[in-house]
Amino acid sequence: MKRLVPIWITAIVGVVLIVANFLPGARSWGEEATTWFGIIAAVAFVLGGGSLLKVHLKKISDRNSGWAYSLIVLGTFSATLAVGLFKIGVSPNPAFPDVPWSGDVQGQGTPFWWVYEYVFKPLTATMFAMLAFYIASAAFRAFRAKNFEAVLLLGTAFIILLGRTFAGYFLTSWIPVDGPFSGLRIEEMSVYIMQVFNTAGNRAIIIGIALGIASTSLKILMGLDRSYLGGGD
């Protein structure tokens, strides 16, 4: 029963939403389903938050290695939650000065804004910036001309890398813009590669992905694939 009911719900809701796509009056049901999913996911956050607290509290109580970091996690989690939830340090909205919690929690100068501006923003930008370092080490390690296709790939990579900078423009600026060979200018070649070859490759992968999604969805709707519920068979 524990697995039969979810399978039936999946099948019925899935078929209804597919059919609704062809019935103009029912087309908004898909958006309703998305809204319901959002509500369920929000409720499920309580589970996630609880798990987070449990894992880190256990680490602290058992004094496992790195327990100090768990203390920081819990401390910052609680502080951010409190500052945002209780609007600590937020002045009331000038239009409603007598209502203490009418102010905008994200307004400039509030503690919540300060946490976002001086903690969250730099940390997120730093993590994203690490990509530059990792791509360099990946390029050194992995981009080898092992066969003909790899050589083609490397040549294309060089054109794109140069084409995205002033170096590409500089190297082929002697080729006239209006002449018959203007397509050999590096910046033109890089745009052509992106618009033609790259687009074709992307489209092929996307077609394969779409078919994979259709097949997997069908198996899930029909209950043929139940491993996401647990057990698989």
């Binding site: 239009a95 997120t124 390029a139 170096a167 992106m194 618009q195 687009t199």
Partner: protein, 347 residues
């Protein structure tokens, strides 16, 4: 251990250090000298500019900022230049966000550009911040027919009925163009699928480098202008900066009594040769202009562009060195690979 062996077993932290220097040194040099690399605009960046330039002043532009601080490095300069062009052209700007932190991106870009350089623009009459709305593509699907359902108030809590520029906005079709800065989902693809295609509206997209390949198939029918990564941002920024400078010079000349056609030609000339402005003001043609106007003209022609409008072009310097480093690393890696393979074959 010879050089090849050393290179084959190099600690990746040396590569990180090289990349750090490749990015850091140009930033310092550009910061100290203030000089940037020249940018030549590609047709895509020019098309993005033309979409907004071809609209009449006062057109309603929906600006959707769907990015976060992580991608602000690539998309922040685009957002700045979009606002710069629209503000200078006199378009009405309506800001929304489909990402939670997009609301902060709106505040940040509007306070820096409008607050710093267009203080005469009035909130509620020239621009409005409608804030973030949860729902991903459901928001777009709904505002195509009913805008107020998702945006009954602006980000400050004011009912849209009280905001003058919201008058006459009942659906997405009431806008003249959509400008979207996007870092992922929901973003450019959703705006193409659910807004621009059914309504056949002009759509200009600024997106990250990894997203750009997926957007190329939509150009030019569904997407009229596409700015990909910091390169696209730099090209667009340079077009907008040149246009703003030229437009301000033209306005100064026209206010000073120079006929319109001549003012346009002169402004274009001074853009190409800033020093010519001072020479021209001493001539007979400039007799109709007041001394204050002449000073303004010279200042406009020669003053450096504010740093906030050069962010993308500044970042092209580190990008150039970093890309050259990557090419060097790829070549070095292949040298090591072939040398090792030959050595293994010889054995």
């Amino acid at each position: 251990m010879n050089l090849i062996d050393r290179m084959a077993n190099i600690d990746r932290r040396w590569i990180f250090l090289m990349m750090g220097l490749a990015v850091g040194i140009p930033i310092i040099v550009i910061g100290l000298t203030g000089r940037t690399l020249p940018e030549k605009a590609t047709p895509l960046a020019q098309a993005a500019f033309d979409v907004l330039d071809d609209l009449e002043p006062g057109s309603k532009i929906l600006m959707a900022w769907d990015f976060d601080p992580a991608s602000e490095g690539e998309l922040g300069p685009m957002a700045t230049s979009f606002i710069n062009q629209c503000a200078r052209k006199g378009h009405k700007m309506y800001f929304i966000a489909l990402w939670p932190v997009g609301a902060q991106m709106i505040r940040s870009s509007t306070s820096r550009v409008i607050g710093g350089y267009y203080p005469e623009l009035v909130y509620g009459e020239d621009w409005v911040d409608l804030g973030f709305k949860a729902g991903n593509e459901a928001v777009i699907k709904t505002i195509v027919t009913d805008f107020e359902q998702y945006f009954p108030t602006d980000a400050r809590g004011t009912a849209v009925g009280s905001i003058p520029m919201m008058s006459g906005i009942s659906s997405l079709a009431d806008f003249d163009a959509i400008v979207n800065a996007s870092a992922g989902y929901p973003g450019s693809k959703e705006w193409v699928l659910y807004a621009a295609t059914p309504l056949k509206m002009p759509l200009v997209i600024g997106c990250t480098g990894v997203q750009a390949p997926q957007m190329y198939p939509y150009v030019p029918i569904q997407v009229q202008g596409l700015l990909g990564a910091i390169k696209g941002a730099a090209e667009y920024e340079s077009i907008v900066n040149n246009w703003v400078r030229e437009d301000r010079m033209r306005e100064t000349l026209e206010t000073g009594g120079v006929p319109d056609a001549q003012a346009e030609t002169l402004a274009a000339g001074f853009l190409a040769d800033p020093g010519a402005a001072e020479t021209w003001t001493t001539g007979a043609e400039a007799a109709s202009m007041s001394p204050a106007a002449k000073t303004d003209l010279i200042t406009l022609a020669t003053e450096p562009t504010p740093g906030i409008f050069l962010e993308a072009q500044r970042r092209m310097g580190p990008q150039l060195v970093a890309h050259l480093l990557m090419i060097g690393l790829i070549i070095a890696g292949n040298v090591v690979f072939f040398a090792t393979r030959r050595r293994g074959g010889a054995r």
